[in-house]
Symmetry: C2
């Protein structure tokens, strides 16, 4: 993806515009005619880059995945494995969604609701990527447990379910009710959940490795 030929640039521009339209109008709301008009291209010119609407939808999802990974994964790499990394990843995710430039809020939340009952490659890819993220949270909680940072009875799947829920709820409350406190509530709930499930050793790791700059970039 390092090539910067003219064709790549055009393709990049199409996907950027499509991503913005998709968060506001849905992935099904993308029409090749409207996109071509906005970009002052012919429909056939646009079709030269994307053979079908579905291909364009998949490219938009791929772009969202790249942005997600760029914003969230580096923070995790810098943190210690286990509870510390789990917290850092969750705070980075929460910040990424809270400060998204898209009117539609979290791309994957909007896409999930739109496609959960539309079988096909687009739905499969949304399900695959969101599963990967939930699995990542479960795995990090399991690592924390194996490091003695979580109580013996702590359930990594249950913890991942709860903390993931808080960020999705915040996105919903901010998008629908313009609730400006929602993400603060989500972060409070995440910290309380991890603190509650942690051993004394786990609690120390929660406070030592908590980089301030990630919550307030």
């Amino acid at each position: 993806m390092k090539s910067t030929s003219k064709g790549d640039k055009t393709r990049h521009g199409i996907v950027s515009l499509a991503a913005d339209v998709a968060t506001a109008r849905g992935l099904e709301g993308l029409t090749v005619g409207d996109l071509a008009k906005s970009l002052r291209m012919s429909k056939s010119g646009l079709f030269a880059h994307f053979g079908s609407k579905e291909e364009l939808q998949l490219a938009v999802i791929e772009r969202a995945r790249e942005q997600f990974e760029q914003h969230i994964l580096p923070a995790g790499v810098q943190a210690e494995p286990g509870l510390s990394r789990l917290l850092v990843l969750l705070i980075a995710w929460s910040d990424h969604i809270e400060h998204t430039p898209h009117r539609g809020g979290c791309f994957f939340a909007a896409a999930s609701a739109e496609f959960d009952d539309r079988p096909g490659p687009v739905r499969d890819e949304i399900a695959r990527l969101t599963s990967l993220w939930v699995d990542r949270l479960i795995r990090e909680a399991a690592t924390a447990k194996s490091l003695g940072q979580l109580r013996p009875r702590a359930d990594p799947r249950q913890i991942a379910f709860e903390v993931h829920a808080f960020v999705q709820e915040a996105n919903w409350a901010k998008q629908l009710h313009s609730d400006q406190h929602a993400f603060k509530r989500a972060r409070r709930a995440i910290r309380a959940c991890l603190h509650r499930e942690a051993t004394a050793r786990g609690r120390r790791s929660l406070y030592v490795h908590q980089p301030k700059r990630i919550e307030n970039p």
Copy 2:
């Protein structure tokens, strides 16, 4: 709404079909032409009942509200005010969504994601009704606190945020990932949250008034 004239029956039939289509294809996916065809009516016959697509969308939302209230509110009336009622309402809500006949899962979750960035009367009504429900949960938690059922530091808004998140997360996980344990996890998280925030008196009220038949109808 007790009248059963022929016109009312026709209107009822239109809304029933529209509600089913809307949960699968979205409220914007409703087209008067397709509905008329399925019902073997003329488009103008259908327009005689609903002057516009927006009016039909609002009627579908009104139907969803009625179903929500029919399934959930009676359980609450039978329970003691405070923590007991809060738990009963949440379990009834969770059951209502888990066992919805609609392919699209929770009607209001799907409608929220579809309309959160489409200003107008439809979005306003979805926001109003979902706010009413969140407010109801906050109010019940506040009642519990005033009855000495919650710890002095318990925050009714934070509690409502968290328990509401669990049910929405379960709907998401079931719809997108076919997760058959999601609602069980949500109920486990709800009980744990209320138990944690409760005083000794509050905990007694949680266990005394928990009708088995509501969780396993």
